[in-house]
Amino acid sequence: MNNESLSLKGIVKVFPGVVANDHIDFSLGRGEIHTLLGENGAGKTTLMNILYGLYTPDEGEIRINGQKVQIKTPSDALSHGIGMVHQHFMLIPIMSVAENIILGKEIKKSGLLDRKKARNKIKELSQQYKFDLNPDDLVKDLPIGTQQRVEIIKALYREANILIMDEPTSVLTPQESEELFSILRSLKNEGKSIIFISHKLKEVLEVSDKITVLRNGKVIGSVEPDKTDEQQLAGMMVGRQVILKVDKNKMDRGAPILVVKDLSVNDQRGMKTVNNICFTVHEGEIFGVAGVQGNGQTELIQALTGLIPFQSGEVTIQNRKLSGENPREVTVLGTAHIPEDRQKYGLVLPYPVRDNLILCSYYGKPFSNHRILNFSFIAEKASRLLEEYNIKAPGIDTITDTLSGGNQQKTVVARELGREVKLLIASQPTRGLDVGSIEYIHKKIIETRDARCGVLLVSPELDEIMSLADTIGVIFKGQIIKTLNIEESTKEKLGLLMAGIYK
């Protein structure tokens, strides 16, 4: 592939105290799908932001089609044919597909919008790449997978020849991912080049022509997918041998811990997003809730942990009925909660680690006595947790904000599992973490189960559910539409269920 559409040479970007990109060379051929693989903090995002004109590199050069270019702003990037599909879509839900696509680059006729021409242009593009899009649909009525196609067309409409896809599959079902891959392949056949960013090793191997691994801001190596495997890639990412398979004993199921009966919950807008849901989690069992994001998982977890009220139904933890909307009650009943968004709910970022470690136990003895905090005990306990949970922080007084994502999550885990618990409710416990931290947190979840606790695990990552759960409940539109044992679950079966197709 001599036909280079983009080449980066010796890119260096230094932030105060960190070298985010350390002499990175990267080359993208025309009609190539080239994956950038790396843990969080490896420098992928920085590199892409440089390419998209959000940062300027301290050193190095960017060549497009052999021409040296300067990219100072995103509009520079666009004019050089670089388009980006963000992980979180930049679409306006109440506007139509056509309006969203032309926004910022409107087709005008004597100063006014030429809607007809715009619609035709979009239809044309959509047919060319077999996208099956109706320009008049409102974005809010479209499924996530289709919204993503709108984002892709948006880039193509701006005549992008190089597409950056930032973790595009993180919001998709396995089937939708497959569809995305076939779209990417057809784009490639049209001569478009694609930079694919992902940390899901299986799909990286499936879709890429070439894989470049970054670690600590450096290029570790480039490999071709048919000459490598998951094990090797993971090793390159982390820099050591990684055990991808989670080892665990067979489930030894005990008495029910968490019983949810006919629970209905409304979301913030008053829409019923959890609809008469029923399930039971037992001692020594990991109950995994699989489903595409936005099917009521968030509201379910928030209701169970007391953050939002129930509309109807009954929840019992250790045979005690919950009164609802009382997080303290849930904690006191021996529940640990690893929240979906650790920075929003799980941590007070400006606090020292020490304070975050006592966030759910400060009010009781021996952490405090007659409302006076017992600092010597707190310091002792915090230091113990720091060590036990292998949190890499200079000390218990380190401001939590300065820790890496993995160590922040370990802080949450240490706090929640560092007390007497009987039930663990974990929502996306490894979201955005590096492989090493994922390994660690998975191990802790299994340990918790083996210590005769019940575990409720919610995750949009099917691989995670399948490797951890003993029982899998598939959630679709606020209901558990089927419960399976791990032995009878296959990815295909679960994928169909997640899309609401069953029987």
């Binding site: 929240p339 709910y345 007070v348 401001i399």
Partner: protein, 363 residues
């Protein structure tokens, strides 16, 4: 050793930015004085001597420092919970009226009962006036900024009415309440000076508030709510309870400031009692970055500017409004530290524990 460095640097930054803000404001003040044709040296000399030139000037500066510390502390305490209490002025009046009433109307009590009772009345008066907007925020979501501003207006008019009607001293030549009983006097600190025990009470309040905020579970909850309401709810804290509590305590500090003015300084409450302390308090809390101990120097600075301005005007013919301009610049630099960083080429510290001021208007 490296982490220690970072922390040391962050602390250094916390002091250097306010300090440079003040210096820069003084420089701008000098430029303004110069352009108006007055003598810069004479002006600043007047300002200094007016504030610290003689024992009497120093004592007067600390007379003004007293309400500044308490009302600044009131605002800072609210900030710690993410609440913006603009109602300190009204709460201060509520405290002054209550203390004045108990001070003159209750008779025949010994000093050691009457004085604490009158101060308590001031504290309760301020607490009630602060708790009302706190309760409204907790129950209805009504924003405390709007409600405390309105409560200010209500209290100012109410005080005016009370002092001119039911509480009026009919024998007096100006509208004011009767003088308080001597048993309610807050004693002077030194004979011959107006400086009274209020300053000691204010300093004690600083220690008490520091203790509550950093050593108790109550303060832990307040700070958690201030930093991250979601995490506070997750941890099982009662947010609405904290809102009411913080506003009540904040109001009680303001009320105490008002009570001090009546019991230690004026011995009466005149209808024309204009403080302005409640609004300067916001600036003082901002300059101190809501740190209870930093309130003390911050209040002294504001008091010395206010006290020294008179002599500056006499000596150099500079309008005392210049002080307001300089204070405005200090606050502008504090609110936009990037300007100071850029001016003096100071790099941003890495470990930044942000100061919570107030939450947005949402919900």
């Amino acid at each position: 050793m490296k982490p220690l460095n970072i922390i040391g640097r962050a602390q250094y930054q916390e002091i250097i930015i306010p300090f440079l803000s003040i210096v820069t404001a003084l420089i701008i003040g000098a430029v303004i004085i110069y352009t108006t044709g007055a003598n810069v040296y004479k002006s600043y000399q007047g300002l200094w001597q007016g504030a610290f030139g003689k024992p009497r000037a120093i004592a007067e500066t600390f007379v003004i420092t007293t309400p500044y510390i308490l009302s600044g502390l009131a605002v800072a305490f609210g900030f710690k919970c993410g609440l913006f209490n603009i109602g300190v002025e009204g709460q201060l009046y509520a405290g002054a009226v209550s203390a004045a009433f108990i001070g003159y109307a209750v008779r025949g009590l010994p000093h050691f009962i009457h004085l604490p009772l009158a101060m308590l009345a001031g504290i309760v008066g301020g607490a009630v006036w602060g708790a009302i907007p706190g309760y409204l925020k907790a129950k209805t979501g009504g924003h405390e900024v709007i409600n405390t501003i309105m409560m200010n207006h209500i209290m100012l008019k109410l005080t005016d009415y009370l002092v001119k009607n039911p509480m009026l001293d009919t024998q007096a030549s100006i509208p004011r309440t009767p003088y308080i009983q001597e048993t309610a006097y807050l004693p002077k600190l030194f004979p011959g000076f107006r400086l009274h025990w209020g300053i000691i009470i204010a300093l004690a309040a600083v220690f008490l508030i520091y203790f509550i905020l950093y050593k108790t579970t109550i303060g832990f909850e307040i700070r958690t709510v201030g930093y991250n309401q979601n995490a506070a709810r997750y941890a099982g804290m009662n947010i609405t309870k904290n809102f009411v509590l913080v506003m009540a305590v904040s109001g009680s500090l303001a009320g105490l400031a008002g009570a001090n003015e009546v019991l230690g300084l004026n011995y009466t409450l005149p209808a024309a009692f204009i403080s302005g302390y409640g609004f300067d308090a916001i600036a003082i809390a901002l300059l101190a970055k809501s740190n209870p101990f930093a309130i003390i120097p911050s209040a002294i600075l504001w008091a010395s500017l206010r006290n020294g301005a008179g002599l500056m005007q006499v000596r150099a013919g500079i309008s005392i409004d210049l002080i307001n301009i300089m204070q405005a610049f200090v606050i502008m630099f504090i609110a936009a530290p990037k300007i100071v960083r850029w001016l003096y080429r100071i790099k941003e510290g890495k470990a930044k524990a942000e100061v919570v001021l107030t939450k947005g208007w949402g919900k």
